[in-house]
Symmetry: C2
Subunit: 128 residues, 2 copies
DNA sequence: CGGGATCCCCCGCGATACTG
DNA sequence: CAGTATCGCGGGGGATCCCG
């Protein structure tokens, strides 16, 4: 409020400590959330176990927790098929789909610029 | 390596647990890193104190830590002017500038879609 | 298969104090 | 002004067990 940021037509500003958009920014920037969005977005609806194997190294707890939060935030839809054994599918909602390209670029940036970042680190570490 | 992800010309894949790009993804998705990138990118070179006031609620420790990591990763350049009192300016490197639009969209998405997310949360919480 | 519930440990992070 | 160093705790997150 006090500090004038450029324009923010939405009325939300992540620079503000108490603005809810800051929390949201933190959520969508999360590692597991990002990978889940991209995985589901690229591969269509995915089952829980497919997500777990796709996102290597994610613990059961973190995966479930992330999926729940994303469902609550309206980013993805959960469909349970009560067969035996049961089956659960996750897919992006229209809202989640608008986030896909954004996060897709983030992940792509990390993969594309890894060599440059590595070089920068080596240079930085060799100094002093 | 085992699981085939689409294509990855770079050879890096954040879905892989040990791939360094996963750590990088985690870094650039960080709240403080994101806000710092956007702040510097939008306002030109900024001094330490300007960043601190711009990014409300960030602690000295986290701000310094984030800036150091970003400098090491080649995302921003640090210029120290040894006057009295001293002065330090941070600006984006060319590499950091390529990241700016990506993170800018992330922050913008959070601010623009906050109402929809809020509505989704209310709907979710009212069920059960 | 797709989770929920618990335990527990580690360290991220804030608060505080000091320095060039 | 722009940091560094240290302490202390809260909770994020892994491991484990169990259930529908």
């Amino acid at each position: 409020m006090g500090t004038t940021t450029a324009e923010r037509p939405s009325g939300f500003d992540a620079f503000s400590a108490l603005c809810p958009s800051r929390r949201l920014l933190d959520t969508i920037g999360d590692k597991w959330v990002s990978l889940a969005i991209v995985a589901i977005g690229l591969r269509g609806p995915l089952r829980y176990s497919e997500l777990a194997s796709q996102i290597e190294g994610v613990s059961q707890k973190m995966l479930t927790q992330s999926l729940r939060r994303m469902e609550r935030d309206g980013l993805l839809a959960r469909t349970v098929t009560p067969s035996v054994p049961m089956r659960t599918d996750y897919e992006l909602t229209p809202l989640g789909q608008t986030l896909l390209p954004v996060i897709g670029h983030l992940k792509a940036w990390a993969e594309e610029h890894m060599p440059e970042v590595d070089a920068a680190r080596t240079a930085y570490d060799s100094r002093v």
